[in-house]
């Protein structure tokens, strides 16, 4: 049996009982003959409470000190978890991100991992210990300051350690059973996937799926680390995410799933002179404001006019910043007006199968029109089609598409390809 990295989120270790339950699960993996490295997040709401405290002493807490503060959360959970494991009669040692060799850049609050040197972890394992590592944190290469990896950072810590330690698998324990064909809260008939390719998972993550963050999947794909997303409560098989199919998973559904996202807004720049360089000027302005945009569409300009409209979507949280930046550049760019719309939603169909199945796009649009959903913007990648609609239409649209592609749990029509001739 090889080395396994397990990651437990804050909800799994919210209190002493949760910590003891997780400790038992970890010990079971050890008993099964694995070397076990555990990455743990802060207990329940600890991080939010620390953020609140920071707000009480300073309106805009400094990055370096903010990271120093937040990392106390994992320090508490990892030490308690190690104690709980030792209490079950097994050896365990906890390590901070710094002690575990998680080296990052110096961008506080959202640092990137640039190297992992897990010498102390390796030693602890060789001495028969279970190694408990603080998620979400590292130490900066140049200044040796404590850094944090930003939202979902613990998942990235787990995958990065799995890669550096050449683990068999990185198990991400969470409060859901795995990756579903759609958000079960919107689509009651959504199906849990036994396996999904890293590529499809990346598209789902960037299309609104919350189970795994894009960064973490990207890291796992680059280092070819299989991720097993599963529930820390049930112990059932969850969803495997990997570059190659796992075990019996020899056939791929054409479509992996339907994702939706209502966190974006649409900006339309009206009356842009239809000549070279205009779009560049607009998106340079947006980029300089450090805003990431998602979809972009330029309307075909009517022959009778030399003006066109350019629309793009971006996170609602960046909306004000974008409008502000564009207004400031209005004269230099030269456009008539701006329109801002935060009542939009995005529905994305994801699946490597669509590469080889030309019918998919047509079926997708048919399903939407049958549901009476009007399409405002369209963008596609090799394995994804996304459309923007009214926010109010999103849930209905997701259900319609989910059914149309035979993804419903009570459907026998799931279209597959590359099968072993079942």
């Amino acid at each position: 049996m090889g080395l396994v990295v397990q990651k437990y989120g804050g909800s799994s270790v919210a209190d002493a009982e949760g910590i003891k339950r997780v400790a038992k699960r970890i010990v079971d993996a050890k008993k099964n003959g694995h070397q076990v490295v555990v990455v743990v997040s802060a207990m329940g709401d600890t991080t939010d409470e620390l953020i609140d405290l920071a707000g009480q002493v300073s309106p805009i807490p400094a990055g370096r000190e903010f990271d120093m503060l937040l990392t106390a959360g994992e320090r508490i959970s990892m030490a308690l978890l190690a104690m709980a494991i030792k209490n079950l009669g097994h050896e365990a040692q906890s390590f901070t991100g710094s002690q575990a060799g998680v080296i990052t850049d110096s961008v506080h609050n959202k640092a990137r991992i640039i190297d992992v040197t897990p010498g102390r972890i390796r030693t602890a394992l060789d001495e028969g210990n279970i190694a408990i590592v603080a998620g979400f944190q590292g130490v900066s290469q140049d200044k040796k300051d404590i850094t944090t990896l930003g939202r979902g950072g613990s998942d990235t810590t787990a995958v990065a350690l799995a890669a550096a330690l050449e683990a068999e698998v990185c198990e991400i324990y969470t409060d859901v059973d795995g990756v579903f064909t759609a958000d079960p809260r919107v689509v009651p008939k959504a199906r849990k996937l036994d396996w999904i390719s890293s590529g499809d998972m990346l598209e789902l993550a960037s299309s609104g799926s919350k189970v795994l963050l894009h960064r973490c999947v990207e890291y796992a794909r680059r280092y070819n680390i299989p991720i097993h997303v599963r529930s820390s409560f049930s112990g059932l098989r969850g969803t495997w995410v990997s570059n190659e199919p796992q075990g019996d998973q020899v056939e791929h559904a054409i479509i992996s799933g339907v994702a939706h996202d209502v966190s974006e807004a649409k900006v339309t720049v009206v009356g842009v002179p239809d000549k070279p360089g205009e779009a560049a000027a607009i998106f340079r302005t947006i980029a300089d404001a450090e805003i990431n945009i998602d979809m972009v569409v330029q309307n075909v300009s009517a022959a009778t006019t030399a003006l066109t409209d350019i629309s793009f979507t971006l996170p609602k949280t960046d909306g004000a910043k974008a409008i502000d930046a564009l207004e400031k550049a209005k004269s230099s760019i030269g456009f008539d007006s701006l329109r801002y719309d935060d009542q939009i939603g995005k529905i994305s169909l994801v699946g490597a199968g669509m590469k080889t199945n030309p019918g998919v796009t047509a079926s997708f649009f048919e399903a939407l029109s049958d549901a009476g959903v009007n399409i405002e913007l369209i963008s596609t990648s090799e394995i994804r089609i996304s459309v923007v609609t009214r926010a109010d239409d999103v849930n209905e649209a997701v259900r319609a598409v989910h059914t149309a592609f035979g993804l419903d749990s009570d459907s026998d029509e799931a279209v597959v390809y590359g099968g072993t001739g079942r």
Copy 2:
């Protein structure tokens, strides 16, 4: 202006308001032209809460993990304090014990400082920062594990840093105004001392005074660091503790103060054969049980018998362990019985002046007898006299002695020596 080390205890930084108040005081010191290094404890009850959490997951938490857990407390307070200072427009950086170069041995939960290498602190100061350091914690020299210094450890951290950085003074901010001639809760007329010698302070600390711990004063005396004990609430001058008198303090009271201690118990070994090696056997047994004893008295044995009694005092918390150890060794040592008495109290008179004033001992005993207090044990050092009495008599005895030596705040009789002939 030179470098100042300030230490703030948990009660001074119990909440956001306290942290902001302390931040302002620190900034004032900086404005006065000092380089400022601040040692801070965990907020209010944080440490107790963490200890409670540990108890919920493990009856006897492992030392290494327990230290990892507890040190999260200072990590929180120091980061918040640094934020609060920056919010006042001054540069501040927080450092863990490890980052501050506090190197200790590997005895978890009560590690000893063996070296201090404050390179990062020095750099931070040179760059114009106020340096905030986590008290109570360090890193072990051999294993590079996080350690804690035990009770009162933050004071020791402050003094150790002051020594390593050659600070002008180590200011210990607390919730009392300084060192008093007696515990004000027992003696309302107790007087705050403007100055006390390190030697006298050491005796007071080991005689029951709680203001400063023995190990912190000892460290300060060895490296000749003046300590200024003062209130974090009033800002008034407190008590200077140093090897040599401070400024105008050219005359010493014969007596620095009266300390009392009701935390000890008395063990009497009855019917010990009055021959060489017996006492040795008894105290070897106690020592092997890792119990520190305080006073020891052997009764003069009556000529008619070959038996004697040996009494000693020890912390009540070690009472059961001592009795158990002695009972186990009863046959090998050879004694009749054991008597255990936890209703005793100790009163100590401390002052370098008694070296040159033979009358002190007599006056002490007269004061006690006038107060009708019976003496059970006596022990003396060059600058201290201690007696054991009934616990019920302690407060009365302390007040009587305090008055007898003219220490009461409304007295003009404070006997002095070495004066400048004022």
